[in-house]
Symmetry: C2
Subunit: 335 residues, 2 copies
């Protein structure tokens, strides 16, 4: 009865497309190597707000509204608003949903939110449950740092394995009709935990989940890295990416030049981001900014995107628990 399943873990879709997207990033992100791929850069992190949580919400909501504009749509043209973020009770998403007025499906997959949202939206459209679905996420350096770690005003010394939470919002409209790259396959991830307890090394905690989803996706679809123009993980950053390639290699999968990581790409080493970027917007911006534009230019035709998320909370960390990771995969194909 599960007609659209392919292998044990993957779903095959036919109709859904990304018909509009918008990435709206902070100044540090705009100054980085992917800056020219983002649709707008806000020159002020706080965007006129005095609380970073409200700034994060503004990034999310504005990205959502601009994605609708790009698709030539209004709020009433979309059936669902699927959104999630890193803040407790995903308040950036829910308060944006209040303003948008579209029925809201709240999701949480930490920094893998973009793939969970896009994958779910693609299924709801493909199954005839929605004409169009708006998907969004956001993160904010100051809001996330003070929730998960320390207020940035404390100026806590960072470690080389630390990642820098990216600031910005990213959104897309997934629809059955219109122009844009198709979402053709979805492989939702298992929660994988190899016992990493270092809150300053999230990349290593997430890499096993990324490898798990990658291998299950290849097994289900009978594909290899050669079938994709790009395999985009993230935000594993430098440390996690290295571990991910080792784990894939041990399973006989050589990624070679096909692999790129969102977290390792958003900042240049000169920007001193530690191991790289993180945050829910990190993978979202890499997919909806960089990948979509390079697909439109014809550089990539088929892309496997594997955003990753660390699923701990400050409470589980204080209680001495390790950090479970998850990675949700989607396949994007050009027209």
């Amino acid at each position: 009865m599960a007609a659209k399943r392919l292998g044990q873990f993957t779903v095959q879709l036919s109709s859904p497309r990304i018909v509009g997207a918008f990435t709206l990033m902070g100044p540090r992100e705009g100054a980085g190597p992917l800056g020219r791929y983002f649709d707008a850069i806000v020159d002020d992190y706080m965007w006129g707000e005095i609380q970073p949580e409200k700034a994060e919400r503004k990034y999310l909501e504005h990205a959502a509204r601009r994605a609708l504009e790009r698709a030539g749509l209004r709020e009433t043209d979309v059936d669902y608003f699927i959104a999630g973020d890193l803040l407790n009770q995903i308040v950036s998403s829910t308060y944006s949903a209040r303003s948008l007025g579209v029925p809201h499906l709240g999701i949480f997959a930490a920094c893998a939110t973009s793939a969970l949202g896009l994958g779910l939206a693609a299924m709801l459209v493909d199954g005839g449950f929605a004409r169009r679905v708006l998907v969004a996420t956001a993160s904010h350096y100051q809001a996330v740092e003070r929730q998960y770690r320390y207020p940035i005003e404390l100026n806590i010394q960072r470690k080389p394995t630390n990642q820098w939470t990216a600031t910005g919002g990213a959104a897309a409209v997934v629809a059955a009709e219109g122009e844009g790259p198709r979402i053709t396959q979805v492989t939702f991830g298992r929660v994988v935990d190899w016992g990493v307890k270092d809150a300053n090394d999230m990349g290593s905690a997430m890499a096993p989940a990324a490898a798990d989803t990658l291998l299950r996706h290849f097994s289900d679809t009978g594909t290899t890295p050669g079938d994709y123009d790009l395999i985009l993980t993230g935000d594993l950053a430098k440390v996690g990416s290295k571990l991910f390639r080792v784990l894939a290699g041990r399973a006989g999968v050589t990624l070679g030049g096909k692999h790129m990581d969102g977290g390792a790409s958003i900042y240049s080493p000169k920007q001193q981001p530690g191991a790289g970027a993180s945050g829910a917007v990190c993978s979202a911006a890499a997919i909806l900014g960089y990948v979509l534009k390079e697909m439109a230019r014809g550089r990539y035709r088929k892309v496997l995107a594997l955003p990753t998320g660390c699923l701990h909370s400050p409470t589980t960390w204080q209680q001495g628990e390790s950090c479970p990771g998850v990675s949700h995969a989607i396949v994007l194909e050009g027209a």
Copy 2:
């Protein structure tokens, strides 16, 4: 292209059924008026744990495993585990997903989680994206109180409008094949905020969302209260239920004896729960405990369930914001 939509906000389904369910509640809940409908009562809130967050997780995970047993299934027989809870970063759900090993879709709708989970599971099954989906949620009095308000050890005086977070876990398996009540319609809710800023009166904050979803559901389906044997809201509790009935009445909808609220039903006045119960397990237990068993007995044939959630966080409350509410609706029909 959205073949399964009915009206502006509702989805019509044909195949999905709840083929197994389990409710596993705390001692106070077991001693309440609905106690005999719950599948198991644990006589210790902490269930052998010293941290209430770990006890909450235990309730969630055990309910999920027992629901699988009831359906005669193992973990590998379900394609997705859809779960959410009230704790920051929904850690009860994600850490349970780690243990279960089933691909995890993390959701957040506060105390409306049960309907978001069941509705989404029903769509994924109906659309052929999954054979079977496991859905679960949980809440724990001590864990939720100390996260949202104060540690219970402080013995803060309660107000009559306060609700008492229910302790327990509830889970269900939704499948295309098997025996059990069908999920025939889903109306996901908009986020509605009428400006309630009183953190001690969540019922009033959620009532407008419940009325909004109720009226949109009636409008889409052309039904009235007379078409249902039961309209179950919750957890609005006593104060919110009264406001909900007033709001429905103003729109010309008289609920009469058809209306019951999960939050107003789980505890007896003698248990001094303030306005009633709350917590993500509250509606879940009312649906998967009370409603399912009364449907099996033949008392109810068609039930409209409208769980409600308050989408604020302690941070938004400290920052002076009002509390947005949401209500997701599902229709259950007996065989």
